[in-house]
């Protein structure tokens, strides 16, 4: 069971939340090609390591926010508001695809 620190409610159990997938995807302009739409809608880095992702406190306050989480250890490195860029410490941490096994 993950303990996730909601930006409003503090640490709560994982089953109060839903994960909304990868953060910081930018919607392409309406004139984008089919290939660009496919990249936006379907294609993902799917990293083995650090992943920036959206979560919602669905069974609590309802807020959307961002997590920086490691997809092998599940360690949460940062929690930050939905409209913000990831904190500098996370930006500098390279996704460790060859990290822990």
């Amino acid at each position: 069971m993950l303990r996730i620190r909601c930006i409003h409610c503090g640490p709560r159990d994982e089953n109060e939340f839903v994960c909304g997938g990868t953060s910081h995807l930018t919607r392409p302009p309406l004139g984008a090609s089919d290939g660009e739409w496919a990249e936006y809608l379907f294609f993902r880095d799917n990293p083995k390591g650090l992943h920036l992702e959206r979560w919602r406190h669905a069974q609590g306050c309802g807020a959307w926010f961002n997590l920086a989480r490691h997809t092998v250890t599940h360690e949460i490195l940062a929690v930050y508001p939905i409209t913000e860029r990831p904190p500098a410490i996370v930006e500098r941490t390279p996704p460790s695809a060859e990290g822990s096994r």
């Binding site: 994960c19 290939g35 496919a38 990249e39 809608l41 379907f42 993902r44 083995k48 992702e53 997809t71």
Partner: protein, 417 residues
Amino acid sequence: MTSGYSAWSLLRGAVGGHRHWPPAWPAVEPKSRYDVIVVGGGGHGLATAYYLAKNHGLRNVAVVERGWIGGGNTGRNTTIVRSNYLYPESARLYDFSLKLYEGLGKDLDFNIMLSQRGLLMLAHSRHDLDAMSRWANAMRMNGIEVNLLDRAAVANLVPALDLSPRARLPVIGGFLQPRGGTARHDAVAWGYARAAAALGVDIIQNCEVRAFLKDGARVTGVETSRGRIQAVRVGIAAAGHSSVLAGLAGFRLPVTSYALQALVTEPIKPALDTVVISPGTGAYISQSDKGGMVIGAMLDLFPSYAQRGSFAVLQAILASTLEMFPSFSRLKMLRHWAGIVDVVHDSSPIIGPTPVPGLYINCGWGTGGFKAIPVGGWTLAHVLATGENHPLAEAFQLERFVTGRLVDEAAASGIAH
């Protein structure tokens, strides 16, 4: 190398204290060059190598596996085989797989313990039943036998199910695919490995791919933890790690990796002789030949490479399983595990070329890879050997995510995701 397995060889072994059995396949050092390298020694990779040798006459083939064969999802599933899919493209693909399973024990000279005990899908509401009627009719249109059942027929088939008026999860009917069932997962991996090795395939374990060798854009081999190996063509069959390998080769996939967990109880006397799936709750259960209740869950719905499941999902799945089967509440859990599955948006596979010349992939089976091992190997072998997509795989290409021609089986794969 390999001796035939038969009642006679068992009897002969009994006389000699079972000391005459040779290894099922030889441990080999990688050669410097192969016609085809298959990355991933799970069921799909081993089946690919076997069919490359058997169907296409390619003997200079290697399977490279980071860990040990069958140690990933092939050893982490719930051993269910079925072909209850909605769309014609999927029905053709999965029923071909089931037909290969039906002859596989004989083909491989290895008892895969296929048990076509029937696969029952439960309807908990009128809406479930309406949707299942449509689903079952689609299966019949595709030539796959299925029987719609009312509540009495379900009660007759599965006496352990709670069908009392006070049941938390009422059952009002369902459908049965009589040819569905289970097969022994380790036997499928070992059978393919042994049969492939007998045809000359090198099976190289503890050999991790760290990079792809390239000449210009074209893949010409792999750099591994056991050295550099050249190949004319390379195939990837790595399930939940497909994106990691694609990243090494320089492209992305429409895949997200999730943990899918399952558990098995202590063995008990025979109490359940069908596979029971409850799509509404995400729970599914069958009894193994050893007697353990094998219980599967829905996905842990956040990206994971952790090979362990979340307690929240385990708790939810056990709650719904025990609401359906109250008499199982005293069973002790023996083992609990998770595999990392490669989920795509439409829950259909990708079998064919990648954007990188010389590199081919079989992935995207998501939560349902085990049942598809024979056809996944068959079709990946075809494209690796001939350069042309197998007709069964034509609808399951990477381009469908650009053209929008998805084969949306998300509803038909039996669990909610």
